[in-house]
Symmetry: C2
Subunit: 434 residues, 2 copies
């Protein structure tokens, strides 16, 4: 029912394809693959996925003094791989990541913990690192025991083919039903020379019909302090994967790991300009990956960004989440319908009365509602604007003008990126069974 003027299916899209990502000057080159110095990777078919696709993946850093950082799902029913890694691995000194795909080893109770530990041991032995320097991740169906008759053999087989150009196999080994690859390797210019920064992500929302999982692994040959690694990963994850929603559902298995080999010999000094350059590059990389996840999610036709401004930061956050997760707003995005009433409704739901908030709404830059009341706008023109692949929403919580009649300034601002809600979502999630 809609046309997509942005779609150019015949030519490959550049990695940085969203207008919402600023590519910093520190990124001097972008490639669609390539591991940094000091890393090897592999992916093999062990026997989890009926499709025969890769389902065990290994990424390992050869530098004994590798530095790392990690972030995990906040779920209170987190999966055993998350718990084993978070609670018992040295998150600042990880060297190996082992991933099983097609089975999340989640909802598997006490046995699942023992299995996650066995997977970690097998990966430690196969890659020659200490157990507590291994991160375990998994994605796929839940409630089904991980088939330990095939997984350890798969880990050993993957270790046997670890290679400096194994990143493509690794990517395939962490994917489930992703429609396209989500990975890039960028060169970042620092004062001491260039470093390589690689990241790969999989999944999101409904594209795994049985369960939702986001995984992201980042490798660099820059030399980072553990604190710098943790700081940069924390900030950039907050600005990327923490800002997206497909359906408001929190996975049991979300995992992001950054490992720095230092093999380039170029050091990122804390609080230096280099730290900023590197941070901006990592930021752009993770933001674009996050947007690719939203775009892939359950066959999304369009993605939206909502920016919410107001006097109260937590209120802005609640409103942005409510809008990004509102099935009313998401179906309107899918249908190419600039329906601002649904935005106002979502605001009211999370800012309960009796005091009324004078809401302002802009869609694709066009002011449609001011102080809670429709303003005159060119509806046919706006209906064309919302047919693009990326639609902007801006919501202000408070009077449009201050007491002196000047445009109001707001102390707080937040953003959320979200996919639409269409028939593909229902089909994937209702008509497939686990």
């Amino acid at each position: 029912m809609t046309t997509d003027p942005d779609a150019t299916p015949d030519e490959p899209l550049p990695f940085f394809r969203s207008r919402w990502v600023d590519v910093p000057e520190s990124i001097v080159d972008v490639a669609d693959r390539g591991l940094p110095l000091g890393f090897r990777a592999a992916g093999v078919h062990a026997g989890i996925k009926p499709s025969g696709n890769h389902d065990v993946a290994l990424l390992t850093c050869d530098a004994p003094d590798a530095v790392s950082a990690a972030r995990f799902t906040r779920s209170g029913t987190a999966a055993p791989p998350v718990l084993v890694t978070r609670e018992t691995s040295r998150l600042e000194a990880l060297r190996t990541v082992v991933v099983t795909s097609g089975n999340a080893n989640a909802g598997t109770g006490r046995d699942g913990f023992a299995v996650a530990r066995q997977v970690r041991s097998a990966a430690a032995e196969a890659t020659g690192v200490d157990e507590d320097r291994v991160a375990v991740a998994a994605t796929g169906v839940i409630g089904v025991p991980l088939p330990m008759d095939v997984v350890p053999r798969g880990i050993a087989a993957a270790a046997g083919v670890l290679a400096a150009d194994g990143d493509d196999d690794f990517r395939q080994g962490i994917e489930t039903t992703d429609l396209f690859p989500k990975t890039a390797t960028v060169r970042v210019a620092l004062s001491g020379g260039e470093v390589t920064l690689y990241a790969v992500a999989k999944g999101a929302g409904m594209i795994q019909p049985s369960f939702a999982t986001m995984l992201c692994f980042i490798a660099t040959d820059a030399a980072l302090d553990p604190r710098t690694a943790d700081l940069l990963l924390g900030v950039t994850v907050k600005r990327s994967f923490d800002r997206i929603t497909v359906d408001g559902q929190l996975s049991t298995s979300d995992t992001a790991v950054l490992i720095a080999s230092g093999a380039s010999g170029v050091r990122v000094v804390p609080e230096s300009e280099d730290e900023q350059r590197f941070g901006l590059a990592l930021d752009a990389l993770l933001r674009q990956l996050a947007l690719l996840i939203v775009a892939d999610g359950e066959g999304a036709r369009r993605i939206g960004r909502v920016v919410v401004k107001g006097p109260d930061g937590p209120a802005c956050e609640r409103v942005a989440r409510q809008i990004g997760n509102s099935p009313l707003v998401k179906t309107a995005l899918y249908g190419g319908d600039p329906n601002w009433g649904r935005i106002v409704q979502a605001v009211g739901a999370v800012l309960p009365g009796p005091r009324l908030t004078p809401v302002g709404v802009r869609i694709a830059g066009v002011e449609v509602c001011r102080d809670g009341q429709e303003v005159v706008f060119d509806r046919p023109a706006l209906e064309v604007l919302v047919q693009g692949r990326e639609v902007d929403y801006e919501v202000t919580l408070g009077s449009a003008t201050d007491d002196a009649g000047r445009p109001a300034q707001f102390a707080n601002e937040t953003e959320v990126y979200f996919s639409d809600l269409g028939h593909e979502y229902v089909t994937l999630n209702a008509e497939y069974t686990t």
Copy 2:
């Protein structure tokens, strides 16, 4: 893709059709229509709805000492009719309800307030009651001014045809895209004689493609104290309309009004057995109406009830809402898929770690997960059970057994009723425009 063994489309369904509603012994008769003594109603086409259907409705109580109670949406962007009624009408002494349908007079700012007051004035004059004894309600598209060139004339016309058998016209005048009527009139046996209790509800969720609104009007010829009316309406709304969700979206316009004429001469004495009898009847009536709203919502195929038990009341509430609003759970319900992993995921999302909750899950009475781990169950048999029109979920938050190995007892329990999420929802909300 599924069959519905409960469907019997050829014979009319009884009003009390849900296994989740207990019909109390105090209800001695159930009819599909009929106003109590002391009430007249009407509905006419004034010119709001392009379809030509009724779009202005009046309900009035002829007793000068009528007693009432009301409940409204908690939205912080509540519509002008809600605000005018809530802030400036005597909620304990309402005698007239005026409803416009097809236009919610919402998102209409300051002008909308003036219009809501004009509507109230017109209804007061037309029914011969004081302005502050009139409740105004509206449902339909938002952001569009109410057409005041036709509404006052419609109110006058409706007043001219007010009748003791006008309830059917009244019902049509409050409906938007409801697929079937939601109304009943019951006779309740009290110690002093029988009284009549009538209720009508409209809408829910997405059945109005542009906006969601729930309205319910209740009339009785019993004599109630204002406090009793308020207490009973408050408790029964909490157990009915407050427990349902179609899509987790809060309307700007939800309104429930109860008016008691006292015309039967039978008085409900506070804290008497009669109060309990009357309350149970009102409770059954509103619960069944609420379930009809869920069942009507956006062409739902199935409805679910989730009962959550645990040590912490607010946690039970959060979990029940999260499950009832989870698109993963709702699409599984639509697909007839007993996918318990999605339940566990929803629990984890609102009970964030690091402490894990040992979750238990029963679907249609079958235990599928105990202490966070799958238990052996007959999957083909369960797949048949979840094909019915009403599917039960039970979730426990805590170990299945206490320290002595006995089945655990939980201090708190809550329930939420929810519709599924299917293609009809997407079609209604994406492909219709405002």
